[in-house]
């Protein structure tokens, strides 16, 4: 197990380097320069001050030197300063936004698995019945619904028509005067719609995947054996089959992370949630290069960590890997 862990962590190093290289290339291949954005605001900026700015940000150096500088700063966890008027360190800006995005996504992930696994199992166990068909219809529609459109409809229905839920931000106006209990309730009410929509987004894929792995497992010989020796159907499904059907699903956990984080741009923008997705959108619109690069790197690293955790769970669950034969 320790060997596996060390091997797995060493493999992260080239991936991390690759992530920074691709981030750097992507941002620097694009035409236009950040300095233009800053100087465009003040027409009085002379060629000299423009050159000073370029020098200040190191943009006058060749690309590989810039990459080297950026990389050595990154290794000291220095992501540079934002180009935005506040000029704060990128890392600070990201740090204050990350908790909300991560907690939203973790809650969504838990709900997603909590709902999708039973749905998938039900569909597999009652294969080809009316129930299975109904779940299939739901899954296909779920695959095809654009999340931002669903968000829009929910905002209209629950926010405008029924006015049950707030549709923007994470706090009500003046809520800072309330007791913590009311503040928590207020926060929860603001998060119901965004979380519901983030969950729904990946529910379809996961439940379909669960259904197909479960069907595959249920057709194995040892399931037939268990049934033949008279084990009750519930026990066959939940004790014998489920354990093995869950294995491939764990891998999917890591895979669904980039989609979730990427999706946070959409629902954080729609619901005006001050998270990393919204910060990224604002950064991109303002051509705040250090911020955009910082979030790209951190977003990709979150995925790396997610994948690592998923692999570790997999190793813990699957003795073949745990004992070094994987």
């Amino acid at each position: 197990m320790a060997n596996y862990l060390i091997k797995r962590i060493l493999m992260l190093i080239p991936l991390l380097l690759g992530i920074t290289l691709i981030t750097f290339t992507v941002i620097h291949l694009a035409p236009g320069e950040p300095v233009e954005m800053q100087t465009a605001m003040s027409p009085k900026a002379s060629a000299a001050s423009r050159a000073r700015l370029r020098e200040f940000y190191g943009l006058d150096k060749p690309l590989h030197v810039q990459y080297g500088m950026w990389l050595s700063n990154l290794s000291r966890l220095d992501f540079g300063r934002s180009f935005a008027p506040d000029n704060r360190p990128v890392l600070d800006k990201i740090k204050e936004r990350i908790p909300i995005t991560i907690s939203l996504n973790v809650i969504a992930l838990i709900l997603e698995f909590g709902l999708a696994l039973p749905i998938g199992i039900m569909a597999a166990v009652h294969r080809d019945t009316l129930l299975d068909r109904a779940i299939s219809v739901f899954v296909f529609v779920g695959f095809a619904v654009p999340t931002f459109w669903l968000a829009l409809l929910c905002m209209y229905l629950f926010g405008v028509k029924l006015s049950w839920l707030p549709i923007s931000g994470i706090h009500s106006l003046g809520s800072d005067q309330w007791s913590w209990w009311w503040r928590t309730l207020d926060l929860a009410r603001h998060l119901v719609l965004p979380i519901a929509i983030a969950t729904f987004g990946s529910l379809a894929g996961l439940s379909r995947y669960m259904r197909s792995t479960m069907i595959e497992v249920l057709s194995q010989d040892y399931i037939t054996t268990a049934r033949a020796k008279g084990v009750r159907e519930r026990v066959v499904i939940y004790r014998h089959a489920l354990k093995n059907a869950l294995l491939p699903v764990i891998t999917l956990l890591g895979f669904s992370l980039p989609a979730l984080i990427g999706g946070s741009v959409i629902f954080e923008t729609i619901f005006s949630i001050p998270g990393m997705g919204q910060l990224f959108y604002q950064g991109v619109m303002a051509r705040d290069y250090p911020l955009v690069m910082g979030i790209l790197v951190i977003g990709a690293c979150l995925t790396l960590i997610g994948n690592l955790l998923a692999d570790l769970c997999y190793a813990l669950a699957d003795p073949r890997i745990r004992h070094g034969r994987g």
Binding site: L15, T147, F148, L152, V160, L296, A300
Partner: protein
């Protein structure tokens, strides 16, 4: 005429056609295609004529889907918007399939360090939240539908590469490849004449599903205001004004969304249909 020869091609079609959902999906896509080509014949309005006297009208006999905040006919804009969606879907996936296939072929065929390097590249690309990457690049460029298609393609080839690689690995050791080699066929002949055609069927499935994904991505980008720019109508940017007027004009939000839903659903159904038809064991799988 009973002794019909059953070719694999015909068998494939028969199995595909026996799947009602997949056939329905194909019909919907065909209709959309015709609509978008003949958009000018389907509707009497033009997609960007502003009519200040007929602003935000609810659906009626003369405006089936109502009108928008500038008095433009929403039905007309949805029909013209189909052009964008179809174009984006096909071009973006075309790019992704070409890149993915080439990389998968090389990685699988040559193995060794070529394989390691290419597959690490796939791993790295898969780490990025795709939507972040697309957003970062698109926003730096002049807004244009071509950039959108290219960027969606450039960020979507990894799945195809993995599929093709796996297929090549399993084909490489088959006897007919050995036979070709013994007959003196060159690497490129083996790759493109013998391996590629056999590796393409799973790609077909993932390409069809990829079209659906590309349409969703484009509509989300346009919705955020960095995709297809007004006045060119796209389903996503109609929804942007839908969001602004959601309290007074539900029809602006409803119809373009339904259009996206139906189109994406159809591509998914066709994709699943192809998958089942290619592999008879997977029927109802």
């Amino acid at each position: 005429m009973r002794d019909q020869v059953s070719s694999p091609y015909r068998e494939f079609w028969q199995r595909f056609a026996s799947n009602r959902f997949a056939t329905a999906g194909l019909v919907v896509i065909a209709v959309l295609f015709l609509l978008s080509v003949a958009a000018g014949l389907v509707t009497p309005y033009s997609p960007d004529t502003i009519d200040a006297w007929h602003v935000l009208l609810p659906p009626s006999g003369s405006h089936w889907f109502g009108t928008d905040e500038l008095g433009r006919d929403v039905f007309t804009r949805v029909v013209y918007g189909a052009r964008v969606s179809l174009k984006v879907g096909f071009v973006a996936v075309g790019i992704a399939v070409v890149i993915g296939t080439v990389i998968g072929l090389f990685a699988g065929f040559y193995g060794g360090w070529v394989d390691s390097v290419l597959m690490r590249l796939v791993d790295i690309m898969l780490c990025f939240p795709t939507f972040f990457l697309i957003l970062a690049v698109i926003a730096m460029l002049e807004p244009s539908i071509w950039y959108i298609m290219v960027i969606i393609g450039l960020t979507g080839w990894m799945g195809v590469a993995r599929l093709v690689r796996a297929e090549v690995l399993s084909l490489k050791s088959r006897d007919f490849i050995l036979a070709a080699r013994v007959l003196g066929a060159s690497d490129s002949r083996i790759i493109f004449r013998h391996i590629l055609p056999n590796a393409l069927s799973p790609v077909l499935v993932s390409a069809t599903l990829g079209v659906a994904g590309a349409i969703l991505t484009e509509s989300a980008l346009s919705f955020l205001g960095i995709g297809v720019q007004p006045p060119t109508p796209s389903w996503g940017n109609i929804l942007t004004s839908g969001k602004d007027y959601i309290e007074f004009a539900w029809w602006l939000s409803l119809f373009p969304g339904v259009a996206i839903l139906v189109t994406v659903l159809s591509y998914n159904l066709v994709g699943e249909g192809i998958r089942d038809a290619l592999d008879p064991r997977r029927q109802q799988g």
